[in-house]
Structures are given as C-alpha cells and as structure tokens.
Symmetry: C2
Subunit: 339 residues, 2 copies
Amino acid sequence: MAMFDGQKIQLDHGSGGSASHNLITELFLPAFDNPFLQQMDDSAQLTIGKHRIAFSTDTFVVSPIFFPGGNIGDLAINGTVNDIAMSGARPLYLSVGMVIEEGFSMDSLNIILQSMKKAAQNAGVMIVTGDTKVMPSNKLDGIAINTSGIGVIESDCQISANRAQVGDKIIVSGTIADHGITILTHRDNLMIEGDIQSDTAPLNDLVLQLIAACNDIHVLRDPTRGGITSVLNEVAHQSSVEIEIQEDAVPIKPQISACCELLGLDPFSIANEGKLIAIVPESSVEPSLSVMHNHPLATHAAVIGTIVSDQDPVVYVKTPIGGKRLLSMPVGDQMPRIC
Amino acid sequence: MAMFDGQKIQLDHGSGGSASHNLITELFLPAFDNPFLQQMDDSAQLTIGKHRIAFSTDTFVVSPIFFPGGNIGDLAINGTVNDIAMSGARPLYLSVGMVIEEGFSMDSLNIILQSMKKAAQNAGVMIVTGDTKVMPSNKLDGIAINTSGIGVIESDCQISANRAQVGDKIIVSGTIADHGITILTHRDNLMIEGDIQSDTAPLNDLVLQLIAACNDIHVLRDPTRGGITSVLNEVAHQSSVEIEIQEDAVPIKPQISACCELLGLDPFSIANEGKLIAIVPESSVEPSLSVMHNHPLATHAAVIGTIVSDQDPVVYVKTPIGGKRLLSMPVGDQMPRIC
C-alpha cells in the first residue's frame, strides 16, 4: 500500500496498462491473496467436485453506449463470454448487474436489453440471475453493466498466460484496434471515411473449435483494454519469456491504420472486443490457422511472432526495414471508458 | 415493454418495491427468459454435472460508503454471501467488479479492500477474480462494487420462495430495520440517541446450521431492499398463499422503533443486511429456533407469523389490539442507495 499512500485514483488506473497493473498487484492482490487470483488470467479456473470451471467478471462503462457495430449491452455479454472462453471453457451461465442513472430512457434500456438477449442467444449462454440499482441523476453517467459468468472446461487443456514456451508461435485471430478506434472516433465525432465499426463478438465457438483441433494451446487471451501490447507484456512477464513480433505481419484494416497515424496512436495498444491471441507450439500452427481461416470471426488470422528466449520478460517489435523496438506496457491509454 | 414506452428510469425502480418488481417482470424477464431466471430467488440454482450450485450477483452503491457498523466493502461481500446462502448453498468463490471515480482516495480504497478481505475470511469465501474500471470525475459518485458468487448446495434441501405452504410458520432471525435506519440517519446527519448501527453480517454459517438441524426448510430470504414487506409479498405471490404477521411479535430495537416513528417510516419496509426470514413447517419451528438462539447472529429470532391459507396472495398484519391491516408491497422506499 505504501506506494499509494495519500494518492488518488487516476484514469490510467482503469486503462489496462501499467498503472492498472500496479494497482492490482500492489493493492488488490495482497488484500485478496489466494492461488486462484494469483493466476491473473482473464477468468479464474476453479473446481466444483471433479468439474473444472471458469469464473469471470467485468463491468462495462463504455461511452457512448451506442456505437457502430454494437452497444454496451452486447459488449457486456460478449466481453464476459470471451473472458470465460480464454481458459478453454464453454460459457454457460451469466449474471447481469445493472446500475442505471435516474432519468435514463426506458426505450434505450429496452434496446440494450434486446441486444443482450440476442448476444446471449448468439453465444449460447443463459442470463440466470440479475440485480438492478438506480442512482440519482448526476451521480452516474447513464448506465454501468456488470456481467459475471461461469463456464465448464470440458477438455484436459491447460491454458494460462504462464504457459508460453520458447519456440511457441503467436497467432492473432484477425485485424486489430477496430473497437477502440470506433469508440474514439464516434465519441469525438471525428469524420472518418470508410467502414469503421466495433468488432464485438463472442469467441467461444472459435475457441472450442481450436481446442478440438489442437489440444496443446498454451495461452489464449483476448486483447481488450491496452490492446495486444498489454496482453503480450503480461504473457512475457507471467511466462518469463522474450517475445518478438513482426510488425508487418499484424493484420490491421487500412482505414484503422490511417486513423491511428492521423491521431498519433499505436494500434498495438488499442482495444479489441472480438479478437484473440493464441500462443501454440509450432506443430499446432497449421491446424490452428486452418480452424481460424474457416471461421467467420477469424478469416484474417495470422502468425505475428515467436517466443524467442526465456532470458528477459520483454516484447520486441521487428520493423519491415529490419529495426527492432521495445514494446513496453502502456501506462494508460488516454481513452477512458473504452469498454 | 409497452407499459414503459417513452418513460424514464426513476429512483423507485431500484428500491426493491413494486416499481422494481414491475421493471423486472415486464422488461428484464421477457428479454432474458429462461427457467433459472424465472425462479426469482436471491440466487439462481443451477447444475454443473451432478452438483447443484447457486450463482448470484449484486451491485452496491450505498451512500455514504462508510457508516456505523461497516462500509461498502464488507456490505458487498456479506450481501452476495447471503444471497447465495438463501438457497441453502455453501458460498465458495466471489468475484469483485469495481467502478471507481477518478480522484477517489487511495486510502479510502485501501480501507474498503481491507474490510472486504476481513469479510471474505469471516464468511469463509475466496475472492478469485476481479475487474476495475475508472470513470472520469463527476461521471460517478465515488465507487460502485459488484460482487458475484458461486456456492454449492450440499444437502438435498429444496429452498425457494415458491415453496411456502399452509400451516408453515414464519421466523425472522433478529431485529429488523437496523441497516436502513443507520444509513438514513447517518446520511442525513440526524442526531439520534442510542446505539444505531448496520447489521451487515454473513449468514451462511447460520443457514448451514439450520439445514443440518431441519432438512425441510421451505423458504429462506434475506430482507434487504424493501425490508420484510417486500420479502413477504414476494413469497405470498410466488407461493400463492395468504400470510398473517403478528405485529408485536416482530423484534425491533427500541431506538430503531423510535426513529421510525419520528420519521414516519414503516420499519417493515426498511432494509436489513444481516437477517433472514425462514418459512418452515410447524414441526421444524423448535429445532430452527434452537439453532438460531444459540447462534450469535440470531439470538433475537422469533416466530412472527403463519401461512394461513392458499386463497389470495396477500400479507396481513394483526395489530396488538386485534386490528388487521394489509401489508402491501411498497412502490419505492424513498431511500435510494441504501445498499
């Protein structure tokens, strides 16, 4: 706690970058210390009897609540479905905890609920329990939605951010930065040409197909807040490995790339909501890519890098002209309320 | 949805009274329709393989966040522990989803986390997964904490608000209205004499002792928002029974009773955070009371009423002078952010 004495919470503490990381490792982990939490994966892997289950939670405060490609409702369903799926589990049951501002439009609420219904059906999960609170006007900006969920790990896979090994290949399931750039440009009313929309989508079907095709996936993560930069740095630290990424191998839509250049943003650090990073042994690259390229949510999947050594927990990016730059964990992302 | 077209969310929609009830039954249930949600209990009862589990969620937005007897942190742990316990389950694992306002004091956050740690230890549960978001200043008033949780139902008990039967007795585990009156008087700086503090406490140990002593408990509910009035009306409707309560049998501290009289509040509709209502066959009254009177959290347990018929789903209160008044579901409770 000492490092935070007398300080105040800053926006960066919720960014998914190093400020978030410090808050969690210095304040939350010591308080709630237990082996499940220490895993630091997208969901906790637990046991009920002989069953392995995954349990995850996420609160969504995205602004604006309606954006091209989705709204806070389907984002909240897909987000927790994906966190559960990243442990190799089949998501089954979700809870929904809503906090709504007094004066919020019932019509908007109904649109959000219908999106949640559709997203739950689409992902094959049931919303089985809920809670609704109302805060007086001006005490909350609109609506915040927590989804928590339970899934069952049916295979004997062992998937965790601490399992990356030297020689493993890093695959991303599609183009990066779509969600974050959509929210940013829509929020600030930037007039951007071209089709820009959130990639929010449920990845559980893709994950179960991947596991069926190759049962030695080492790591699965969905690069949300902090983008692939945060995920790769977390894996580098949790597995104590050095990661090398080929910059020009990372799929990105031209219009998203142009936006990032225009705004001076690094797309590697921008949030995605329908993509995953898979880290697999070289022998599993072919079957993984084969599954992905035949799945509608991963047609642009590509190998983007390699675990090159177990010397230092760092991430390097090799540029097309042969340069090499360190990809550090972002402190914050200057984009609050991205999810 | 038609009944809400063009309307706006009001504070009463989060009160636990009939406005909340209408919002849930008219908007949420139709959207998320499934048999688990339809149970409308404090937690959903699910199965994982052969195991019966309980899953529950609750978001806490209490104001002020620190109050006599506790703070938002232990309230959030105890609240979800209790919702799980009310299905007869042993709570095991909790998630914590925090949304914090930019500028929030780290020292306050640490006090809250330490209270959560202590409450989790006290209840015998582990916090295994979490999420933290930050909202810009003035977009959220302080902090909101969602806790969700999983428990295992180890006995063959069948506990649900739809199981009350004619002849059953209604037991309350202790004095009512302590939490709500504490928040109200503390928030408004009312100078009240006497010891007034929240009753926030984990009821899981009491519930497991009750189940061990009598395996035919029909209903367990913790009367939080909307107090015992809401719980009794919900049971009356879900079990289609008429309930009669003896007004002078309901335990209440003199100072709480005096406060309610002074403020013109009905203590039956005021929130509790460490009490339960048990509805049991007459033959189980003695063993239930015996367990309660020997448990530190239920020394003032008392039989307060009876399921008198299966004619109409109503709740009556018999007054000491022989009168009889209808105890209707409150619309709202005029006390937002009580939990």
